[in-house]
Amino acid sequence: MEELGKKTLQEPRIKFDNVSKVFETRSQEIVAVKDYSMEVLTGEFVSIIGPSGCGKSTLIRMLDGIIKPTYGAIYLDGIQVNEEGKMPKETLRKMGFIFQQPNLLPWYTVRENVALPLRIFGLSGQAWEKRVDELLELVGLTKSGQLFPYEISGGMLQRAGVIRAMVHDPEILLMDEPFGALDELTREQLNMELLDIWKETRKTIIFITHNVEEAVLLSSRIYIMGTQPGRLVSTVNIDLPRPRSLKMITQPEFISYKQKLTKLIGDLDLSKIK
């Protein structure tokens, strides 16, 4: 056990090795991602930030078996996962994907939606059902479990989407601008809930966002991407103390990180105009 723990500390949990993705459309070839490399260790919280269309979603969709990279290799726990064919269920079970929209199924109740991954992965039994109820309670949805998606609010829908990705107890969470569509207040509240969850469970999280403040507040490291073609531009480590709270956003350290990132992203846009 001890040895295993050490090993995972050294070896990256997730590794992108020179990954490129080219989409062939009727009229042109779109290079969505070009030569992207990144290593994420177990228990890290990293964010990917960049302008619209720079390939952020494409990156994590490749990791989660939804699309295949055109070149390069993606490793999960040292095993290459982007071979031909469908990604095996055991690999997919290690990950939970949180979509940009809640993406709940209208014919299932909130509880049935949250439990969906259990049904697909074939995880049954008292313990798993109890886990569903605990997660519902964690995000304040216990009373809404028997309601249908159209009967609950946008913030509640998004919460249900988040815990659905966690219900099969994945060690890795992939989050594609999960709170982008929500108002500022709900967003901040959900960010803090997310930090709590991360602190308690020590999941490895890849978080995609447009929002600099959100990225600085949550992450250990931020990857900044540029566009046309989508590529990694720079990496910034965030050495702010943990636990973090909303109070920190007024502290000088926080503000200087924010300015640094805003400048890096701003330079990007300028270089695009030239």
Binding site: R61, D64, G65, L92, N103, W107
Partner: protein, 250 residues
Amino acid sequence: MTKKRIESFIAPIIMFLLIFTGWEIIVRALKIPKWLLPMPSQIFKSMIVNFPAFWPHILVTIETVLLGFIIAVPIGILLASLITSFKVVNAALSPYVTFLVMVPLISLVPLLMLFMGYGMNVRVVTVIIQSFAVVNMNACTGFNNVPIMRQELMQSLGASRLQSYRRVILPTAASDIFTGVRLAGIFATTGCISAEYVGGNMGLGSQIIKYSQFLKTTESFACIFYVTIVGLMMYWLISFAQKKIISWKI
């Protein structure tokens, strides 16, 4: 009962009374002969008085419609799932399905009877041909319109094809499929009547022809009314099933 429900219940009844009273008054006033256009009161009377004579034919028609319909619906849905899953099947079959929707069935029935005789089988086959294509086309629309996000959700969980169908594809397509099934209910009835028209001496269709040949227009109309009732029953049955099955809102 809410006001809305009373309205939706009362309105058709009032319409029914208006049409038939109007019809009755006009026929009486213009003294139209019975063999040309009978009065509704005469038709309703014939429906009751001649019921024992009609009943076997009503039964045969119902049997044919139901049997054909019950076979056609799963065929239509199954074929749609093949067509939307495999490009080859789509290329091979779609033109012929479209052909079956467009071709006037009445032109096919005599051919079918040449091959199969005048029995029950040929009528059931006619009903199947007439109704499966419309289920098929609507089911194809439904299967093709599954939002990409939902497909990606199933992919990210590594769902099997069967799991995807059961949990995402079929429920998404359900309302489109039901549009097709409802149309199929109507097409099955009309298909059955046209098959009975063309040949054989069983079923309401054959009776409509028989009575009108002898200028027994009242009896002929009585049979037409029974056909309408069979069609309406199909429609209600399907609507009822739809309400039971699709209990969610999109």
